[in-house]
Symmetry: C2
């Protein structure tokens, strides 16, 4: 489960509007970007909010053998959030993930950008869980 989680928030995207509003266009981009060595799509789900004509946004998830890509668009704000998490079970897929994330960012062409990276699955960072797993 050890791996890398890339997180990005994109603002004032200058891409063609369908990429922000049309789930089919978003799916085409995401699948193209995930068709790279180190990323292995095993399923996908894209949801259209409103309609492509009304541009109420879209959400897409590509389930990877290495974990997942999730993309949410807000056309009214020309904004996008990206999450790309790859585990490094059999090999280090970090470079593939970074390349894919940069390809997505380039496609949306944001004017402003926030990128964060989280290392996932580092057992040494975990603390003892509360009894019952912290239910409330």
């Amino acid at each position: 489960m050890h791996g890398l989680h890339l997180i990005a928030e994109l603002y004032d995207c200058r891409c063609d509007p369908p990429l922000l509003g049309d789930a089919r266009a978003l799916q085409e981009l995401c699948l193209a970007v995930c068709s790279t060595p180190g990323l292995t799509p095993v399923g996908l789900l894209f949801h259209q909010f409103g309609s492509a004509l009304q541009a109420a946004g879209a959400t897409g998830v590509v389930v990877l053998a290495e974990s997942h890509l999730a993309v949410h668009t807000w056309p009214e704000e020309k904004a996008v959030t990206l999450d790309l998490y790859v585990c490094n079970f059999s090999q280090d897929n970090s470079s593939a993930a970074r390349v894919a994330c940069q390809r997505l960012i380039a496609a949306f062409a944001p004017s402003r950008l926030l990128q964060r990276e989280l290392e996932r699955g580092v057992p040494a960072l975990a603390a003892a869980a509360l009894s019952g797993g912290g239910s409330d």
Copy 2:
């Protein structure tokens, strides 16, 4: 797009083994947890790695109107990663997300746990993007 992203890594989970190995059991749990005010499932995708009998793990995503839940299991390590991202477009869904995340954690019953929270969609944190969006 402003919202809260809850991230958790669970180790030495003491739940029944099917919850870690069987995509159907995982789906049942995730849908139950997401059936709460503040979370609105609009689609789901669960993938079985190997077979339920061989317990090679499962990945599940529930696409929410508020963003998404993603769960990955590693039965051989009795480990789970959770991501629950909710945007607060029309109302603050942070409390609903925290309750759902704690219900998931309680169901997996980890012995050790790492939880992190990220605030998403804070434009003031974004910097000017490189020309072309940072393509490489």
